[in-house]
């Protein structure tokens, strides 16, 4: 008999093969769209890790996504031709020149009071490094404080929610260095070796698809380690774990930071395929949307949450092309979310697991235990 775990991995493999084959049938416009949805799939993984496995409902995941996005976007902005057109041989973002005080020196060091912050971003790899380090650092500091203080459940959600809104305001307010509401646009292309990643070419799609595959497998392996199992135990009963001798906040902080790392990485990839970074990444509605993707796909399944994100976005894109249906679609998504939370707490992945159970045991699977809305309900590592 094939074990459930084997079947699980077979499904992961099938998913990866599928996304690798897509370029054979899609034109470049759709390929670019799909690349964006794969990035959202990566966000689904980040949410599943923190919500499904750690029991931490982060309503500010957009903060980490935004941090990753802005860090790389700063580098790509300096690499853009729009930063070199102003008669200077050293790059200065165009929006800084438009807003410069009369007589200010038109160099990155001192065109305005904070523009020197941009200096190291002339190196693309500095942007990449910061795009990974900054989300992890924020998550580490935030997690260390919140989890050491034993703040849990809805209070963590409120804190993360407040934080993403705060940072969004600051970003908009810091117009001279962030270009405020408009965000960073007209970016250059990401370069690797001599290759430039034009968002509409097939190699760019593969950059995203391979990245997603790696994150998917790594996340799945991570939750299967002893630490991953202990994390799930902590999710189920923090105190019990504590009195068995586990340093609970260390586990929560670690996985919170890993989730932030994945979200930050997704933010960078999104900048590569969309060629902009904007404060909308830190809109509350975006962070909540990520939670909906994971809930529908199955928050307690790494692949489920990933597929949930991709599917919802593909359906949205198709539907919103139908005249007059776009607004209704938002309501439908909301309705689906409520129904899933109430009646299908394990999402699409839960449904799939039940089907597999039935298939391999040839008898009805045991019903899922009654679950509370705030609790992850399935145990996919089994």
């Amino acid at each position: 008999m094939m074990s459930k775990r084997r079947i699980d991995w077979a499904i992961y493999a099938a998913f990866i093969v599928l996304i690798m084959l897509v370029p054979l049938i899609m034109d470049s416009f759709w390929l670019n769209r799909l690349a964006k949805y794969l990035v959202f799939g990566m966000l689904g993984i980040a949410v599943a890790l923190s919500w499904g496995y750690a029991g931490i409902l982060n309503l500010g995941q957009g903060l980490f996504f935004g941090a990753g996005a802005y860090m790389l976007a700063m580098s790509l902005k300096l690499a853009s031709s729009t930063s070199l057109q102003q008669g200077s041989d050293k790059p200065v973002p165009d929006f800084m020149l438009w807003n410069a005080e009369p007589g200010a020196k038109t160099e990155l060091c001192c065109i305005n009071k904070a523009s020197f912050l941009w200096l190291p971003f002339q190196s693309q790899w500095f942007g990449v490094a910061m795009g990974l380090i900054l989300p992890v650092a924020i998550a580490f500091v935030l997690g260390s404080i919140v989890f050491r203080k034993r703040i849990a459940g809805v209070f963590v959600s409120i804190i993360t929610l407040a934080l993403v809104l705060l940072v969004r305001l600051v970003m908009i307010d810091a117009q001279p260095v962030t270009n405020g509401f408009n965000g960073l646009t007209d970016l250059g292309w990401f370069k690797l070796g001599g290759f430039e990643f034009d968002p509409y070419v097939v190699p760019t799609y593969y950059l995203i698809a391979v990245s997603l595959s790696v994150v998917l497998i790594a996340a799945r392996l991570l939750v299967e380690t002893r630490a991953g199992v202990i994390l799930q135990a902590i999710r189920d009963d923090q105190n019990r774990a504590r009195y068995l001798g586990f340093d609970v906040p260390a586990y929560q902080t670690f996985f919170f930071a890993v989730s932030a790392l994945i979200a930050g990485f997704a933010g960078m990839l999104y900048v590569i395929v969309s060629e902009f970074a904007s404060p909308t990444f830190m809109d509350l509605s975006f962070s909540i949307t990520m939670v909906v993707w994971a809930a529908v796909g199955g928050r307690a399944s790494i692949l489920g949450a990933c597929i949930g994100a991709i599917l919802i976005n593909m359906i949205s894109a198709t539907v919103s092309e139908t005249e007059g249906f776009a607004e209704a679609w938002k309501a439908i998504i909301g309705l689906i979310f409520v129904l899933v939370v109430l009646y299908m707490p394990r999402g699409i992945a839960g449904l799939a697991h039940d089907l597999i159970d039935r298939f391999i045991t040839r008898r009805p699977s045991t019903p899922a235990p009654a679950v509370r809305v705030n609790d992850p309900s399935s145990q996919p590592a089994e």
Binding site: L222, E224, T225, R226, A227, V229, I230, Q232, A233, R235, D236, D237, N239, R240, A241, R242, Y243, L244, G245, F246, D247, V248, A250, Y251, F254, T366, P369, D375, P376, S377, S378, Q379, E382
Partner: protein, 247 residues
């Protein structure tokens, strides 16, 4: 004389003026099974909270062998060798019975030490499953267990954790007579291998397991002695159950 496993010296806690535990001292020897008796609100659970670090004491000291653990963080006290069962059974509900025990078997407290795969205590876990009678349920998710089975699983977590000292807060609460009896068999099996402190109201159960009893009353130690001594102690009779004595 046997060595002291747990030494409590003048332990107190003050909840804004109310002393739930007030200068309790006791010495529990290595391998001893001590029963804590006392009426509702006598401070039994609070005493366990103080020993295990759940509540910070406002006076007095606690030692495990020669190590002072007063007011350490809970997980450090656990690592120093104190395991605890709660009054309300708590297990990892979404994990299977075996997974529950695997988690308890893990000897490394930190995250990074646990980034590898697989728990290496299969033989020990099979043995514990046998002892708590959950071998058949090993693959089941803990949420499906009955109340009694959940209590046993929590006992199993403690046995797997293998601490020197085990604190059990009302391990038979809510159990049928048959279940209570089975629990006494499990506890008796642990005797000698661990130092055990049990809070219990059920006198039938106490007689099945007890050696020495400490009676708490209004946060203080009222009496200490064998089952017979305690049952015949007039102070205990007066304080504990009116004039009827312990039944």
């Amino acid at each position: 004389m046997a060595q002291a496993a747990l030494t409590i010296d003048g332990l107190s806690v003050d909840f804004e003026g109310f002393k739930a535990v007030n200068g309790v001292s006791m010495i529990v020897e290595d391998g001893e099974l001590r029963v804590l008796l006392g009426a509702n609100g006598a401070g039994k659970t609070t005493l366990m909270d103080l020993i295990s670090g759940k509540t910070k004491s406002t006076g007095g000291r606690v030692f495990v062998h020669d190590t002072e653990i007063t007011n350490w963080e809970e997980h450090k006290i656990a690592r120093a060798g104190i395991g605890r069962k709660f009054q309300i059974p708590s297990v990892f509900k979404e994990l299977t019975v075996r997974r529950n025990l695997e988690v308890a078997s893990c000897k490394n407290p930190g995250v990074f030490a646990n980034l590898g795969f697989g728990f290496s205590a299969k033989a020990k876990i099979d043995e514990v499953l046998e002892l708590i009678g959950l071998t058949e349920e090993a693959g089941q998710v803990a949420a499906y267990l009955s109340h009694g089975q959940t209590q046993w699983l929590e006992l199993g977590l403690l046995i797997t954790q293998d601490p020197k000292i085990i604190l059990l807060d009302e391990p038979t609460a809510g159990m049928t007579q048959a279940e209570t009896h089975k629990t006494s068999l499990i506890v008796n099996n642990l005797k000698g291998r661990h130092t055990i402190i049990v809070v219990e109201h059920d006198m039938a159960f106490v007689r099945e397991i007890a050696e020495r009893i400490t009676v708490l009353h209004l946060g203080q130690v009222l009496a200490e002695g064998s089952v017979a001594e305690i049952e015949n102690d007039p102070k205990v009779r007066a304080a504990y159950l009116g004039s009827k004595g312990i039944t």
